[in-house]
């Protein structure tokens, strides 16, 4: 019974959303606001139960209990081990500094967690991003020429390899603004534009395909699941 009610609610909300295709209306706005509200509420609950409670609250409360047993002289090897949870006070305290923004006098404290986040983010991202998105991609563009030299690529693959290199060079030239785009540079940048257009076209085609998939899924739900509860 609960499942059938769920299907009817989902079908009603799906139809509310699709009613926008005719024109904007209160049913659409109701479903849209409901979706936003529930998504945020659900996200907060999940973040609490899957993040804050297991990663901060539980280890910290266990560590505090362990500390109490040490103070009262009832410590065991397990409770001593649980004391390591006290270390989490440091990241928790730094995280709490984000709330310093709520007090005008202490707003400046927010600089510390932001500085740590930016420092960590940049430090971890720069070498890995360079490796994954610059070095590996450059190697991937050039490496097939070794296979051409070894004679292991088919004519079609050789064509593809050369086309990729032409595309990369011409597209980079299009974005090279330190030189006036005249003569050969102008022609090469126009070829770059052509590659970009093909890329945008492919991306747009895929976007249409993806949006259609969402519609097909909802139509399948309405026909099979919802109408299935009626007929």
């Amino acid at each position: 019974m609960i499942e059938i009610i769920g299907i009817w609610v989902a079908a009603f909300l799906t139809l509310c959303i699709y009613s926008f295709l005719y024109r904007d209306n209160p049913f659409y706005r109701f479903a849209e606001h409901l979706f936003v509200g529930i998504s945020v509420g659900y996200g907060i609950v999940i973040a609490m139960h899957q993040g804050i409670i297991p990663l901060a609250w539980v280890p910290l409360s266990e560590a505090m209990s362990a500390l109490w047993t040490v103070i009262t002289g009832q410590a065991t090897p397990e409770t001593i081990n649980a004391l390591w949870g006290l270390v989490k006070i440091i990241p928790i305290a730094i995280g709490l500094l984000f709330f310093a923004r709520l007090s005008p006098r202490h707003t400046w404290l927010i600089r510390y967690p932001i500085a740590i986040l930016i420092g960590f983010g940049a430090g971890i991202a720069i070498p890995n991003e360079l490796q994954a998105n610059i070095f590996a991609q450059t190697r991937g563009t050039i490496a097939p020429f070794a296979a051409i030299n070894a004679g292991t690529l088919s004519a079609w693959d050789i064509f593809g390899t050369i086309l990729i290199v032409i595309g990369v060079i011409c597209t980079l030239i299009y974005f090279f603004f330190s030189m006036e785009h005249r003569g050969a540079i102008s022609w090469l940048s126009k070829v770059g534009i052509a590659f970009l257009m093909v890329g945008f076209g492919a991306a747009f085609g895929n976007t249409v395909m993806g949006r259609l998939a969402l519609m097909i899924h909802r139509v399948g739900f309405l026909i099979k699941d919802w109408l299935g509860t009626i007929f």
């Binding site: 890995n128 895929n206 097909i216």
Partner: protein
């Protein structure tokens, strides 16, 4: 006639699209499916894994984008369970744990897989980057318990799994930018093999990674799910049905784009 076509109410197009989606859903007319190389590579990789190997599936999509990744998840899990490959599920999306957990339970029940022995679901932890990096050192440091609150150390299939070194493959079922993060941080830093099943919207961004070998396989949207179902000999799977319906809608859209362009150029010539 031309004027009327140029000024056609867009709602007529919506009705046409609706008809083209509804009719094949009610009366399926199957179109042939040819398996592409990226999907074949993923299938071959999983197919050649020894029984008892472990793969990780990241369910990185939300309720609003599950249409394409879910059929892929079903097909890959079915393949894994039939080969005796263990599956660890997790997600970087806060809205997905319930969906993914329910899906894993259902597919496992259909394939008689046992929770804790053949598969587990770790759930969600905030901070995608920290989660990816943390699991590279020790999965239990990030997920001390699974989604059902059982300590990781008490789960039988996790006894010999510490970090990515014991994971044969990470399959990212994604509707956003998470595949890039898995490649940059898990593949580049820890050498974890990555494959992806992504929605059609982001597929164009994934091909460069496939060409360089940073992705060992790739399932593109409904097409990837349908291809994987064909490799498994699954008739009438969600991916196959979806792709079949989508093909008719694509034909209509191509026809409308061509007609629109012809009408535009004829109209412009007449005006000149």
């Amino acid at each position: 006639m031309l004027e009327r076509f140029m000024n056609m109410d867009r709602r007529i197009i919506f009705i046409l699209i609706a008809l083209v989606v509804i009719i094949p859903t009610l009366i399926p007319i199957r179109l042939p499916i040819t398996v592409s190389e990226p999907t074949q590579k993923l299938y071959d990789y999983i197919d050649t894994l020894p029984s008892g190997s472990t793969i990780m599936i990241a369910f990185d999509y939300g309720p609003s984008s599950l249409a394409e990744p879910e059929p892929m998840a079903k097909a890959v899990m079915q393949h894994c369970f039939s080969k005796g490959v263990k599956v660890i599920g997790m997600t970087l999306y806060a809205n997905t744990p319930t969906l993914a957990h329910k899906l894993m339970r259902r597919i496992a029940a259909e394939n008689k897989a046992v929770y804790g022995e053949d598969y587990i679901f770790l759930g969600y932890r905030p901070g995608a980057l920290q989660v990816i990096l943390g699991m590279g050192t020790n999965i239990a440091n990030v997920f001390e318990t699974d989604y059902e609150k059982t300590p990781i150390t008490e789960i039988p299939m996790m006894q010999n799994i510490t970090n990515y070194d014991q994971i044969a493959l990470l399959l990212d079922l994604a509707a956003g930018s998470t595949t890039g993060a898995w490649i940059v941080y898990a593949n580049t830093r820890y050498g974890l093999k990555i494959a992806a099943g992504v929605t059609a919207v982001i597929i164009a961004q994934m091909y460069p990674y496939l060409q360089t070998g940073q992705l060992i396989g790739l399932m593109p949207g409904y097409l990837g799910a349908a291809e994987y179902e064909k490799l498994l000999n699954v008739a009438g799977g969600d991916g196959t049905v979806g792709l079949n319906t989508a093909s008719y809608a694509h034909l209509l859209i191509i026809g409308l784009v061509l007609l629109g362009n012809i009408a535009f150029f004829v109209h412009r010539r007449k005006e000149a």
